[in-house]
């Protein structure tokens, strides 16, 4: 694994019964660059994320992060190793306030599980949680129950939770899905800001967003990698044009 590689996959494969959802994917995702994974529906993008995060076991292949093969590890162990993700269908801790949502993520990151001290007493944790909530722009909803948030705000909360785990690699699954233009702009700016210090890989359908911020693009189709490269590379690629490119999809 060379320096400058955020995550290295070789031969990663997953079958569901007769269907091969991910077919021998081999790719080095770049560090210090914003990577984007694009492709038509059913290309296997989210399944790939699920494999990386350990939510489903890979049938074959290696996923190397920071010198360690992640295949076979449990999801919470992979988070501890420094990979965080957001989900395609946004989901957070609905019955808890925004503040508590982020607090538990910070507490977990700092391995604090003290059973007899009140949560409030951990000032450092609250301070860090406040920082993150500010960064994603949710301060106005600090005390609100997560279940009352708008869809766009839930996405931001998910982002906050992912950041609280102090990841070195952030996997974002359709981060602006379901957002209006203003929210999209804000979120994209936040992601750009984050990508300066954390490696990011995002799955996205919104081509405008991808062409705007992505440095390195991976095109998937039918479980395999169709093409990789910069925006210029893939727009020029005839295979990609044939398989995928059309008018930019919005949601």
């Amino acid at each position: 694994m060379s320096a400058g590689t955020a995550l290295s996959l070789s031969g990663v494969t997953k079958h569901f019964g007769g269907l091969t959802a991910v077919d021998g994917v081999t790719i080095d995702l770049k560090s210090r660059k914003l990577n984007a994974v694009i492709g038509p529906n059913g290309a296997g993008k989210t399944t790939l994320f699920n494999l990386i995060c350990g939510e489903i076991p890979a049938d074959d292949g290696r996923i190397v992060f920071n010198g360690r093969n992640l295949v076979g590890l449990k999801p919470h162990q992979i988070v501890r190793h420094g990979i965080s993700r957001t989900l395609q269908i946004k989901s957070v801790f609905g019955g808890m306030s925004v503040a508590d949502n982020v607090r538990i993520a910070v507490l977990t990151n700092r391995r604090i599980m003290a059973p007899f001290s009140p949560v409030q007493s951990f000032r450092g944790v609250t301070a860090r949680a406040n920082e993150i909530i500010e960064e994603v722009g949710l301060a106005v909803h600090y005390d609100d129950l997560a279940s009352t948030l708008s869809y766009g705000d839930v996405a931001l909360l998910e982002l906050a939770l992912a950041l609280a785990a102090e990841p070195r690699l952030l996997l974002l699954d359709e981060p602006v899905c379901g957002m209006g233009p203003e929210e999209t702009e804000r979120t994209v700016a936040t992601i750009k800001e984050i990508s300066r210090r954390i490696d990011v890989v995002l799955i996205e359908h919104d081509m405008e967003v991808v062409f705007d911020i992505a440095d390195f693009i991976v095109v998937m189709a039918q479980g395999a990698i169709l093409a990789t490269g910069t925006v210029a590379d893939i727009t020029a690629d005839p295979q990609v044009q044939e398989a995928y490119l059309g008018p930019p999809e919005d949601d």
């Binding site: 995060c53 939510e55 449990k74 999801p75 919470h76 988070v79 501890r80 965080s84 993700r85 989900l87 989901s91 957070v92 801790f93 609905g94 019955g95 808890m96 306030s97 508590d100 607090r103 538990i104 993520a105 507490l107 977990t108 990151n109 604090i112 599980m113 003290a114 059973p115 007899f116 001290s117 009140p118 949560v119 409030q120 951990f122 909803h141 005390d143 609100d144 129950l145 279940s147 009352t148 939770l161 992912a162 609280a164 785990a165």
Partner: protein, 352 residues
Amino acid sequence: MTAAYARALAIAVLIVALLAVPFVLPAFGATFWVSIATEILIWSLLAASVNLLLGYVGLLSFGQALYFGIGMYGVALSINAWNVGFWPALAIGIVAASVMALLTGVFAVRLTWHYFAIITVVFSLIFYFAAMSMKGVTGGDDGVSFSPPPVLKLGELELTLVDATTQYYVVLGVVLACYVLTALIVNSPLGLAFKAIRENDRRAALIGINVYRTRLIAFVIAGALAGTSGALFAFFGRYASASYMFYHVSGEAVVWAIVGGAGSLLGPLFGAGALIVFRELVSTLWEHYLIAVGAITICVVMFAPRGLAGAWNDALRLAFTRIPDEPARRDAFDRRNASEGGEAAAIIEEKR
């Protein structure tokens, strides 16, 4: 006067009332009710063990009677075999129950939803039948009796359980200690982890929580609570019996927890209190009061799944919080005070 102040005041009143029971009730000619109050306190711990798992972690256990029974037998057998004192016997009962919870929890906690409920019953049945079969040790249904050692022996002064008032205060002390510990846990980082798992266990794993281990910890704590209940009950009845390990006992505890309000700290006390008082009052009038209890259970699930505590919290909110007039602030107010209707479990969000 805010809702939080009112709540604190209510708890203070409750504690004073509980402390005054052995003096107030006999004044009304109801000495017998001191005994009932003692029973309510003891059983409320079993309901609390169900409540911890259901209301805070989102796991419905239908087998807490097993740990209750182990607590009972821990006390009875250790006193009969080794002549230990009151407090050591109590400790043995609690530790034995916790160990059993650990051994069974390692397996049970791997399952969720209905399968978890089923396996908790299965485990309790296995040990129930084992206890019934080992009649020599456990006395089966008839059980094993013992004479409880004194609670305190300082030279000439001796406090024993024979005196109903002493018994009440000892039980009250232990039970209050358990509630205080539970309150601390629930408001701690561990408690927040419980809630996160209850809300969304997939998300919990994705922020790095070891869901299995956290559930196991909760299961053992719940086992300890149930064991404490059983140990106290053994002292109360001066005996231990395998019949208390049967799933009917577990089921009753679930009913108390639900009626009291799952997810609230004092819900188990009110649930157990309400239904035991109901039993005492109605059973003298109508032999088949269980029909009413069954009906109440069904009605609570249908109409008031957040139980008594839910109704109490709603009343507080109604009485003590002033609703802002401007629409924008009203919106924010509603958001802050909204609470989950309740898929997985009835929860009461305790706000700061």
